[in-house]
Amino acid sequence: MENIKLQGELFDIQRFSLDDGPGIRTVVFLKGCNQACPWCHNPESLSVKPQIFRVQSLCTACGRCAQNCKQGAVTLEDGRYVRDPERCVACGECVKVCPNDGCKLLGKAWTVDEVMRVLYKDRLYYRESDGGVTFSGGEPTLQHAFLLEMLKRCRDAGFHTAIETNGNNDWQVYESLLPLLDYVMIDLKHTDSELHRKVIGAGNERVLTTLKNLSGRVPVEVRVPVIPGFNAQREQLQDIVNTVRDFGIKLIRFLPYHTFGISKYLSLGEEYPYPVDEPMTEEQLTGLIDGLDTEGLEVLIGK
């Protein structure tokens, strides 16, 4: 019975996703992450707490938010919107009064039933396209109890299930999820644990363990964001490829660095923490990948 009250902190549910696993999928984005990749394109996923997201292009600086902010966190300075993150408790009062949809409250507690109701709406699309449901984030495994219950319910409903994970969690967590998973997308960002720790905030030991243990037990797609200044050297990528191959994993997808997330940092009132502001072109990425020895692997290139 306690499961009825079980809630997950989500920042989005995206229907009709074509990029997050096989077929047509609904992607459930869980909030909160135990890594902090400075290039992350979903900065709203890092904190498990709700956040205020303000879209500059829709904001007319009418001041309603400032008038209604009980914490005094939002003010207009010289007609410019300013929000003090120290004072803001993300109560959402400003969202309620914004006439332009310029403010959003990102992050909300959802019950399993509430999420299931949304997932059910596209069940015919999953069935027709051999698609299903993907849990992403953030790092979805951090909300383990919620995720486990969601996966059970999806299995009961006959939905194909997948997760997108950074791999950085205890093996027991993955092991508990494994019987309920049909597909796993897992990042491997660097083989050098020290660099991994320095840049992302956590070493890669658990990632490697997860990869090794998952191999052969569930279809695995390894995802490698190719980040200039971090892992975009040919040798670094070759090390990743070799590691993946050694674990007996067959599918690897390279994702070119992009900077579409920069505007999201602005909307959250934060600074983009990564110093590279030029995206990688598909040609650059293809050039890099072509120079690798990827024998025995299926190589995909994301956009």
Binding site: F16, S17, L124, H258, F260
Partner: protein, 802 residues
Amino acid sequence: MTRTERIKAYILNNAPEICTERARIYTEECLGNMAQPVDVRRAKAFRRFLNEMTLYIGPDDLLLGNTASKPLAASLFPEYAVDWIEDELDTFETRPRQRFVIPAGRKEEIRAICKVWDGKTHFDRVDYTLKHTIGDVLMGPGPDGKGHQHPSINQTMSIEHNQNGDGHIIPDYVSLLETGFGPVLEHTKQKLAALDETDEAYLDQRSFLESVILSLQGAVEYTQRLGELATEHAEKEQNVARRLELMGLARMCEKISTKKPDTFYEALQLVLIVHLLIQIESNGHSISLGRMDSYLYEFYKRDCENGLMDPEKAQQLYECFLLKCFEANKLRDWGTTEILGGNQLFQAITLGGQTRDGKSAVNDLSYIFLKALGHTNMNIPTVVVSVGKTTPIEFVDASLKALVAHGGGMPAFFNDDIAIEMMTRVGVSLEDARDWASMGCSEVRVPGKHATGVTPVYVNMLKLLELALHDGRNPNTGKTLCGTSKSIKDCQSIDEVIGLFEEQLDFYLPYIPKIERAIAESYYTLTPTPFLSSVMDYRIDMAKDISWGRGPNYNDTIVHAHGFPNVANALTAIDEVVFRRKKYTMKEVLDAMNANFEGDEYIEIRKALLDCPKLGNDLDEVDSMCGRVFRLMPDKMKQFKPLRGGQFGCTAQTVVMNVIDGEVIGATPDGRLDGESIADNLSPVPGTDKNGITAVFNSVAKIDHKLMDNGSILNIKFHPSALSSDEKIRKVSHAIRVYFAGGGFQVQFNVISREMLLDAQKHPEQYRQLVVKVAGFSAFYVELEKKWQDHLISRTEYAAYA
């Protein structure tokens, strides 16, 4: 450059101009022999024009035929209306869009032609009848000349088809390809000889059959002239390969001028000639081509077996065909130009679908045609695919690939199974229903068996709701034609509000048959179309012009009803805010609307209204409201019969009237501001669909589309990245199939254009929900930095032309 690129360049090198050849000859023949029956006069004019008009052959043309003296030139059709020509004569060359050049010295001629036709046209006749039947409620053009310039009834419905021809038909190409012109001509002569002279309809039938004979003779002579012109060109041609092509065309035209076509090439040429001749006889639009992959397949297959044809050649010929359709042009008054979004002739071609015995009709030609479409990428003609339970998914994939290659929203996808149900529901036999093809924008027709469908009115549903909310009074005009049985402020439930809305419908809708009567009567009396009649499957035997309607087969008169998404959103918002949550009273909502939601308090009311469920989000309360108001129109129109027989078939498509409709409506309870456009077709109100494409599909599929047999349209905008790989294309194919299996009727995708993205930069509030996908990451376009918006703009342009 490929041949197709050269032909395109050749066509586009012409500035559209007004050609007076037709108007001159029609004026002499139709007004010079007034004692002769009108169909005979018109047929003589048709035949003489076909014998005297300027014909041309482009340097790379593989198909022949033209409607006016140059590519993109437009003839005048003074018999339909001259007032607007006179009024706008000095602006055709300078108006904002769709300009037409008037050749030196022709302006005076046009003025003289207008003068002699003044008082004798279709427009004058309709105007006379309307004034004498419903003159007390008729209103002139919109207030302060804003918007389109057609008469209306208290702005709730605007009257169309009073200035141009009938159109809206698909000829019987299947029969014609079996016989060619010769046997039809022979059959008509026999029929004429066999008429019963004692029959009271004898003279009427006689003049009709004579006019058919004259028209068909004109068609034969036109085809022969094309052949002779090809011979002339061949004799002068230095390039041996081109000379051979021209000689082949000459032989072909001579042959098919009377005999049946035997090859794919000949069949295609004959179809083109008939298609163009119909548009010479009358300037009605939506003359459609039916199932071009089906009726040409046997020719193609036989040619391939005989080594005469291969897929590349067939594709090239299709491309030439598409460009020939593009070449035909039409001059319209400025008001209609705005409503119809340009010079569109709405020449629809349908691919795929089913055979008469219920099997998939997809064949090699279907795929070849899709390739030709993608390779030609012009906005005209319209190509649609019919997709249903029998359709292989590979064909849906191929259609999406053509969509990407085309870059401009074609082909559109139609649900074959729903179309068939629409037809059988109104009494069409199952076999005929399986033969259906799209006509114009979204209308479902049995080629050769459905007579012309007038579009008498465009009904503005949201305006009718506005009237109901103002106790029957039109706030713009101050006129109350139908007071409500009680004040809106006294309503206790949404059902009572809907009751007031229905009162307005019940008052205004009965004007539709009165208007249809005036228009249909005039077409039959003043502008019969014997040539068109001759290419329909039963008109010769019936010895009665197609504009008379009736007959043994099918008649359907089109009634447009616009604004369902807004009406559903508005009623849902009232229900939610006023009755369920009791957050504001009806009076407060009305006050806010009347103030256009300006002022602090009213902005909050607007916010509350905007926050209510909106169509397109898979939310049952508003979706079922939309289904409920959608049903009102077809239910209520059932009680009326058109003059031409058959039924009034409704459609929810708006062309681009949604902009003009919005101009005459003040602020509404869906949160829409004064003068803002209403939703296009059955698409969600821009910016209100927030849950992705499957949610839009699910919402729209809940509406019972079968009730409106003239169809509806759903526009969806796609970023090209959504269709960037075969894998994703297959996923979208699956989504379309689910939408169709759920009951959706039509969907068309805009793979986002550069123009749209530029517009989104200027008006981010209208594009809030425009999603750009970049692999596992997606963002709202308006939230992206300008730099990245610019980046996407350049990349999209590349994708659109790749």
